[in-house]
C-alpha cells in the first residue's frame, strides 16, 4: 500500500466527521490535526477503532504569548504506518483537560508527566497529581515558560567561584609563530615536500 494513500485515507476519515481547525502534513508518515478541545476524545476513539491503537506520546507546549497550552497526542497505527498528531489548545488559566484513560490506559504516566512539568490537571485520571519524575518539587512546574531555571539553579545549587586573574597562554606571540611554523611544516610534509 502506498504511504500517501494512507495520509489521504486518514485525512478524509478525520475531515469528514470533525471540524479541523488546522491540518498539516508533516511528512508522508506523519500528519497533524488541530481540533477543538471537546472533540479530542471522540477523535481518539475513532482513530483507535480504525487501527491507531498505540498512544506514542502525550506532551504539551506552552504558548505564553497566546496564554494557551497546546496538548499534543501522538497515536500510531501498525498496519498503516502513519503517526497522527492530535493537537488542541487549552487555556493557560487553571488548565484542565479530561483524561483519556478509558480510551488509552497507557496515558496514565504521560498525564502524570504533563501535570508535573506543566501543571495541567487531568480529571478522570485518579492519580494524575502523584509525583513521577521530580522528587519533592517545591516551585512552579519547571517547563512553563515563566519559570526561570537559572534563578532556581542559582538559589538552590552552590556555584564554583573563579578568580578573574588568569593568563591566556594561547595568544602569546612567540607560541603563535611557532604554531604557524609547525602547521606549515605539517602541510608541506602532507603534500610530499611540495609548496
Amino acid at each position: 500500500m502506498n504511504s500517501m494513500t494512507n495520509i489521504k485515507y486518514v485525512s478524509s476519515l478525520v475531515e469528514n466527521r470533525f471540524k479541523v481547525i488546522k491540518k498539516e502534513i508533516v511528512s508522508e508518515y506523519q500528519i497533524s490535526f488541530e481540533v477543538d478541545k471537546d472533540e479530542v476524545h471522540r477523535l481518539l476513539t475513532l482513530l483507535k477503532l480504525e487501527g491507531w491503537i498505540q498512544l506514542s506520546y502525550l506532551s504539551a507546549i506552552d504558548w505564553i504569548n497566546d496564554n494557551e497550552y497546546e496538548l499534543v497526542y501522538i497515536v500510531m497505527n501498525w498496519e498503516k504506518p502513519v503517526h497522527v498528531q492530535i493537537r488542541t489548545r487549552i487555556s493557560r488559566e487553571n488548565p484542565s483537560m479530561d483524561s483519556i484513560l478509558p480510551i488509552f490506559p497507557g496515558c496514565k504516566y504521560y498525564e502524570r508527566e504533563v501535570h508535573e512539568f506543566f501543571g495541567v490537571k487531568f480529571p478522570g485520571n485518579p492519580e494524575y497529581a502523584k509525583q513521577l519524575i521530580l522528587e519533592g518539587w517545591d516551585d512552579i512546574p519547571p517547563l512553563r515558560k515563566d519559570f526561570d531555571p537559572r534563578a532556581y539553579s542559582d538559589a538552590h545549587f552552590a556555584k564554583r567561584e573563579y578568580t578573574e586573574t588568569f593568563v591566556n597562554l594561547n595568544n602569546e606571540k612567540s607560541k603563535q609563530v611557532k604554531r604557524e611554523k609547525r602547521k606549515e611544516r605539517i602541510i608541506r610534509v602532507r603534500k610530499g615536500g611540495k609548496k
Partner: protein, 189 residues
Amino acid sequence: MESTKFSLLTKEEVDRKWWEIGDFFRRNSLWMLMYCTGCCAIELPPAMTSAYDMERLGMGPMATPRQADVLLVTGYLSLKTLRRLIYTYEQMSEPKYVVGIGSCTINGGIYHDSHAVINQLDQYIPVDVYVAGCMPNTEAVMNGFVDLMRLIKSKKANGWKKYHKNNEWYKKNQIDSLGEVRVKDEFHD
C-alpha cells in the same frame, strides 16, 4: 653507646608503617564502582579494554558499592541521581575515593543553569581527583587514575576522612539542595 639504628618504634610510628603498607596494596588494586550518570561514561570502555588496558594498573570494575574502592562519577548529576549517589557513597567500605569525570561535576558544565542538575559535586561528597573536559580524552581519564594513585601514595587522598570530619557541613549542603536525602518514590514507599 646507645644504638641509633635500632630503637623501639612508638605506637604512632607502627601504625604509620602499617598504613603505608596498606596504601601500597590499596593503590595497586583500585576497584571501581562506575556510577555512569552521563556521557563521560563512554570513555570508560576504551580505558578498560585493549586500547588502554586499565587492568595493568590493577584496576577493574566491581558490581556493588561494598566491594569497590573508587567511586567514578561520570558526568552530570540530577537531583534524583545525587540522592542515590549519596546512598551509594555511604555504603562503600573505607578507605574510599571519589573521582569526578567531566566538567559537569566541576561546575555544572553545559547544564550550569538547569533546574534539575547540581553544579558542584564536592559540596555534597568529598572528591579526590577531578578530570576536566567535556568530555575528557581517555588519556586524561587514565591520567586521573594515575594521579589518584600518586595522591594515595603521598597520603593526600583523604576525602573519606574529610567526610567524617566535616560531616555536618556536607549534610547541610545536601539538605539545602535536595530538601531531603531520603529516596521517596513509588518503589521505596
